[in-house]
Amino acid sequence: MSLTFQEVILTLQDYWTKRGCILGQPIDLECGAGTFNRHTYLRVLGPEPWNVAYVEPSRRPTDGRYGENPNRLHTHHQFQVVLKPSPKDIQNIYLDSLRALGLKPDDHDIRFVEDDWESPTLGAWGLGWEVWSDGMEITQFTYFQQAGGIELKPVSVELTYGLERLSMYLQNVENVYDLVYCKGPDGKVVRYGDVFHQDEVEYSRYNFELADTKMLFALFDQYEAECKRLLVVSEGGPLPAPTAAYDYCLKCSHAFNLLDARRAISVTERQGYILRVRELARICAEGYLAVRERLGFPLLKKPEDYQPWNQVKQVTR
């Protein structure tokens, strides 16, 4: 019997954690893709090794369809894997993850089809493929070349499984809401629609009809200012806080996505907003890299040489 939606997640978690990945968690902010999570966007910068796997609920306001479209969702779920540096045998390691899901190359036409990836808002790009199984895209496979406009050395590989699409394929289901989410011990079935349908209806209404655009424009400006404020480097001033600043970059990005869904931004202004978010992403990346460098790129050291939490003096409250 094919895997339930949550078994797909559990299988991938099990597979990748056994191969040395940290089991990460989704970022606790609205975001559009697993790439936006700090676990990816900031950690791919610099020379430190990094291996992580996590689920990311990914919000795409313009893709909402009021729960009426069998394929499109306001929030879909990505299973994201990042390995730095990219292992030499990564294609085969990845193919074994498909085997773990019951997708055998003996049964399916699996191919790596050219797909260049670019995120204009993150100033990031990479080369790689869409992985197809019988013509269906099941994973985005990317060797990251740049993030925040910074050349990446070493190169990370990012694997993004579209969990809904993959599960629909495995369960041979044509409507996402029919997916079996899980089965209780008593055989009771919970479907994807039971868990998410109402969310889709409400968020579609919010995104397309209810969102207060005036508020969102104001928030965009405030978030932008806060992000920049946290990155100011001045003599005698506080140290920059790029990780916190990056939160506000994400908030800007989400505010922009909502305004876009509300069609509140004209085509001409659109590019300007994208560039503003991109600029925030860029300064966050630079700020983060500078801090890691000042810390001596801790993950390059032996674990016992870098445990700042054991060196903290008396914490004052």
Binding site: D106, R111, F112, D134, K153
Partner: protein
């Protein structure tokens, strides 16, 4: 026989990259004798998404030995007073690789110098090939390359293995070629899933056969044949033929054949190592969608072939080429059918949603669509195209145009259709489909989608909405109907002039707005319809339509660009009299491309006549004398010799003939003019025999120059004979 086998084993390389890289590898290997001094008898290249291979046979064992003399410092510097070698001598000896004693002295016109007799070459093939391959690896023309892992090197996709072996009578050597952290070996691999284990290969035949056993057809030509066989077989199983398969009986349509067949076959050949054809079906109801939409949904993302009957009527079926053989092809078919079903249901959604609004209502939406940030919105572009279209139609003798106000043509579908209404309406709807969901998904269907959504409009309007983008490619015809052709010319000229006006002329390989294609489109449309329009006048009119800040030399630049495109379009590949004729005509000006084309043909025909060489020589002589501008009329009273009078009256008569002949210009008319000029030649020659042009008497001299100017004027606007 010495033989090299080299293979770059890769993670899947993009399909479009492989053929170019293979061609480059072959070219470099063929040049091994010149660039590396190794003889070669045959070079072959093989490639799939996972390997780029080079096989070189008949290699010499070593590079040729050549004796060479290196010259060093003058002897007075090379030795000190005591005759001992100085540092300079020692340094030279080191460079030459000889001990100082072996250096010799040589007397030259500049004094005595130290020289070294050295023998170069004789390097073993293994050493030279290692260098060749190392250089090759880092200098392949890859359009986009990347790094991976901790590697510093770049390639199209990560390189997984290198095979580099040289086989001679003495055995097989692995060449120590390195690429980043990777060192070459003697091992290759078969099909990713069907035969992944490593194997040894050294000779061409052995390599190809072992790969074949391992489900890899390495030779692209052979694999392409297999793709065709497999795809045709699958189409037959689906009860039809491949859409626009040249083996079928389709109505002629080179663009459809290129887009839906040839291009697809070529691409699919480089998406697999061995093809396996599988067909699938979809719901008949999807065929209610425009044919182009169904085909685009199949081709764009999925690379599926369409299946149709022999006349091109689509069947609800497709063919895909799988890259692996699976246990149960029905599973692969089902999977692909699901994907296509979703894509077609998206397309159906777009089709229904888009048509909830009338097409003409969408034109106003273009006000918010940026055409170019320095130029303005797409709506403004449509307004300009309307003006220019009316100018063109007036120039074509359609009478007085109404005021070109775009809003006047944006109402409900008109019931009466005079010419101006059809033309205005066609322009008004021409870009309305840009904001549709369908064009958003399939940008290459712009115009085609609009035509479908323009149902109920005048047929000529519908055609223009679709065809004003033509010719869409070199294989495509220009717009055939009058309204469509006018809009096509206006739209393209507006694009060219606007982009040139903001200073973004195409240069080298950079032509982001495809201005070259637009210019060829204008030219081909004019030629097709034999419209004798003056495109330089249209450039000026087009530029007047822009309210932006324009570069001062925009008109001159745009005209030069168009003339250059004319030259480029008509210039034959081989140099020679035909090419010279094109250059000579362009040098004389191409205001009216249709006439210029006639002139080209006439001059080319003239150049083939026996009289041509002498006539050209005589005219060149005339042109060469006329260095400076000559003004004023010929004064017959100043003639000294009968030859002058003779030439004068003949020239006069010929000018008359030319004027009346070219009242109705045609290729034949130009041929007639040129043959009359040929008949004039003896009189020109007689003139040169009889008199000195550069007479001591200034008035006589000026008069003779005027006469010659009149002779030159007979051909000046046909071709520049000094270029012939």
């Amino acid at each position: 026989m010495n033989e090299l086998l080299f293979e770059i084993g890769c993670e899947e390389i993009p399909a479009r990259v492989v053929p170019d890289v293979l061609a480059h590898m072959k070219e470099r290997a063929v040049k091994l004798p010149e660039s590396y001094g190794l003889d070669v008898s045959s070079v072959e290249v093989y490639g799939t998404p996972r390997r780029l291979a080079l096989s070189v046979q008949g290699l010499s064992e070593a590079t040729k030995r050549v004796k060479k003399e290196l010259s060093g410092p003058p002897t007075r510097i090379a030795f000190d007073k005591d005759g001992k070698p100085t540092k300079a001598a020692e340094a030279f000896a080191k460079t030459a690789g000889l001990p100082v004693e072996k250096l010799t002295k040589k007397e030259t016109p500049k004094g005595e110098y130290l020289v070294a007799e050295v023998e170069e070459g004789g390097e073993s093939a293994a050493v030279v090939l290692e260098r060749f391959l190392t250089e090759l690896l880092t200098t392949l023309p890859l359009p986009k390359s990347m790094r991976w892992g901790a590697e510093e090197v770049k390639f199209s996709r990560p390189v997984q293995w290198l095979l580099a072996v040289l086989t001679t009578d003495k055995g097989t050597t692995t060449l120590p070629v390195k690429f980043g952290l990777l060192a070459a070996g003697a091992i290759s691999r078969g099909h990713r899933f069907m035969a992944p284990d490593p194997f040894n290969a050294a000779r061409r035949q052995d390599y190809l056969e072992k790969l074949r056993e391992r489900f890899v057809i390495a030779d692209p030509a052979e694999r392409k044949k297999r793709v065709l066989d497999e795809a045709r077989k699958a189409a037959k199983e689906a009860g039809g033929v491949l859409f626009y398969d040249p083996q079928g009986a389709f109505p002629p349509d080179p663009l459809a054949q290129q887009t839906y067949f040839d291009g697809l076959v070529d691409e699919v050949t480089f998406l697999c190592e061995t093809p396996f054809g599988v067909f699938g079906t979809f719901a008949e109801s999807a065929l209610d969608l425009p044919r182009e939409v169904v085909l685009a949904a199949m081709r764009n993302h999925q690379r599926y072939f369409g299946v149709s009957d022999e006349r091109g009527t689509l069947k609800p079926a497709f063919v895909t080429i799988a890259a692996s053989r699976v246990k149960d092809p029905a599973l692969v078919r089902r999977g692909n059918e699901r994907v296509l079903k979703a894509r077609l249901s998206d397309a159906t959604y777009f089709f229904v949603e888009d048509q909830k609004r009338a097409l003409h209502g969408r034109t106003a939406d273009l006000k918010t669509v940026t055409y170019h940030k320095k130029i303005g919105s797409s709506y403004e572009k449509v307004e300009r195209v309307l003006k220019l279209s009316f100018v063109i139609a007036e120039a074509l003798g359609e009478g007085m145009a109404p005021k070109p106000v775009l809003e006047d043509f944006l109402g409900k579908t008109p019931e009466r259709h005079d010419f101006w209404l059809r033309l205005g309406r066609a322009v008004a709807l021409s870009k309305a489909d840009l904001t549709t969901l369908m064009v958003g998904e399939f940008p290459e269907l712009q115009g085609i989608v609009g035509a479908h959504y323009a149902k109920g409009e005048d047929p000529e309007v519908i055609t223009a909405v679709r065809d004003h983008y033509r010719p869409r490619a070199a294989d495509d015809l220009p717009a055939q109907e009058k309204v469509a052709a006018i809009v096509a010319i206006a739209d393209k000229l507006d694009t060219i002039v606007g982009i040139v006006a903001i200073g973004q002329m195409p240069s080298g390989s950079s032509d982001p707005f495809a201005l070259r294609r637009s210019a060829i489109g204008v030219l081909r449309t004019l030629l097709q319809h034999e419209w004798r329009l003056d495109w330089t006048a249209l450039v000026q009119k087009a530029l007047d339509g822009f309210s932006i800040k324009k570069a001062d030399d925009a008109v001159a630049k745009a005209n030069a660009f168009l003339a250059d495109r004319f030259l480029n379009y008509l210039l034959p590949e081989k140099p020679g009299p035909e090419a010279d004729a094109v250059r000579a005509v362009v040098a004389a000006g191409v205001q009216r491309p249709v006439e210029a084309k006639w002139r080209v043909t006439a001059v080319q025909a003239f150049a083939k006549t026996p009289a041509f060489t002498d006539v050209a020589a005589t005219l060149k002589r005339v042109i060469n004398i006329l260095k400076e501008d000559v003004t004023g009329d010929v004064d017959t009273a100043l003639f000294a010799a009968p030859a002058e009078k003779d030439l004068h009256s003949a020239t006069f008569a010929l000018a008359d003939l030319k004027r009346s002949t070219l009242k109705k210009p045609s290729q034949a008319a130009y041929e007639q003019v040129l043959s009359a000029v040929a008949d004039l030649r003896p009189k020109v020659d007689a003139f040169f025999e009889a008199v000195m042009v550069m007479d001591k008497d200034a008035a006589v001299k000026a008069n003779r120059l005027r006469l010659l100017r009149n002779v030159a004027a007979l051909v000046r606007d046909v071709a520049d004979f000094s270029k012939l």
